[in-house]
């Protein structure tokens, strides 16, 4: 059984493995190819998370710069390259937030107040999925406003799973959290959104 170098990906993704190897050799055209392939998803993740086009652009370019500097840091066994790049963009965003606000953005655990709010909402909406949660018809702008009003830890799962349709595994890796934590936060995020947008449950 052959072993892979950290930057190699399983044989089923030989194209990507070749691309990464070429970037490791300093091939500019390979980095361009990767950029054209992955930059859209990374940028949209950063944009939806931050609501700031300049930050999203910086975060996207920083992610590719960092990868090009050290492609060996990517380990295909730990997740997709797209998830890796999105994670790198996330680091830039958090740094920009700290710089702008001088405070931590992330909350590692829900506060007791959060738990109380969610408990009240959960009584009637427990296990409700987005197809069951009814909201008032909203313009796209109002929907974005509601999403941006969510705390970061709840906005992120919605962006990753509901907007970008990433797998739960990739989403958890990008966010740097356990799978169960992602599911919990996603559930709470959807409840909060439904609450903000005027919710009910289909019978």
């Amino acid at each position: 059984m052959s072993s892979f170098a950290p930057w190699q990906v399983p044989a089923r993704d030989a194209d990507l493995a070749t691309l990464v190897a070429r970037i490791a050799r300093g091939e500019r055209a390979a980095l361009e190819q990767l950029y054209r392939r992955e930059a859209g998803a990374v940028y949209r993740y950063a944009l939806a998370l931050s609501g700031n086009e300049a930050w999203a652009a910086d975060a996207t370019q920083d992610a590719f710069l960092a990868f090009a500097q050290h492609p060996a840091a990517f380990d295909a066994q730990r997740g997709s390259l797209g998830a890796y790049l999105a994670g790198a963009a996330r680091h830039t965003l958090l740094a920009l937030w700290r710089q702008a606000r001088g405070e931590l953005v992330l909350q590692d655990a829900d506060t007791d107040a959060d738990a109380d709010d969610d408990a009240q909402a959960a009584d009637s909406l427990y296990e409700a999925c987005p197809e069951q949660l009814l909201v008032r018809a909203q313009s796209t702008r109002e929907l974005w406003r509601a999403l941006n009003a969510l705390p970061f830890i709840y906005r992120e799962p919605v962006v990753l799973v509901d907007l970008q349709e990433r797998s739960y595994l990739d989403a958890a890796r990008i966010a740097g959290i356990e799978l169960n934590t992602l599911r919990t936060r996603l559930h709470r995020a959807r409840l909060r959104l439904a609450h903000m947008l005027g919710a009910g449950v289909t019978p």
Binding site: R28, R36, V42, A54, L134, V135, A194
Partner: protein, 174 residues
């Protein structure tokens, strides 16, 4: 006023599933395009392998800073200082937008591009002053002239860099 002259009350819009709203956001998000490759390409050194000059650093204490720490040369740590881009802009001569000319020792030359520099200067933010040694031929990557006869001869320089490794300005120290 007769009641038949009053406008008919509009019915409340029917509620919609949250999923429908999320799909609408997803569709809107899909229309957003990232910065062009040309924008990133302009920031990359030539050849691309020159990026390795600022790769890998002392180990960081937390995951949040590890990605940033690995961009800095370990041996430059002693000469590392963080400044705000805005403060540096005050110290540098106003960038007229012309091509950077060869300057004497001690003068910073902005290499990021006028538009980029002005935007970063107005936004503020942090940058790093990194003391380093470069072979003279590396100056070409920043659009600066050098003596081909001394291409491999190292020069001491100070780089004003962002955390991503992007060099904003440079000056030759000796």
């Amino acid at each position: 006023m007769k009641t038949r002259d009053l406008p008919e009350p509009q019915p409340e819009p029917r509620p919609v599933a949250l999923a429908q709203g999320l799909r609408r956001l997803a569709a809107d998000l899909d229309t957003r395009e990232p910065p062009s490759w040309a924008t990133l390409d302009a920031k990359l050194p030539r050849p691309l392998s020159a990026l390795a000059a600022v790769a890998v650093a002392a180990p960081a204490s937390s995951a949040a800073t590890r990605w940033r720490a690995r961009l800095w040369p370990r041996w430059a740590a002693a000469g590392l200082a963080m400044v705000s881009v805005a403060a540096m802009a005050l110290l540098l001569a106003v960038f007229s937008g012309s091509q950077p000319a060869a300057s004497g020792p001690g003068e910073f030359v902005v290499v990021a591009g006028a538009e980029r520099w002005l935007r970063l200067s107005s936004e503020g933010g942090a940058a790093w002053l990194v003391q380093t040694e470069l072979p003279q031929e590396r100056l070409a990557a920043y659009g600066l002239p050098y003596d081909p006869g001394r291409a491999a001869t190292p020069v001491r320089a100070e780089l004003l860099m962002r955390a991503s490794g992007e060099v904003l300005a440079l000056r030759i120290v000796d």
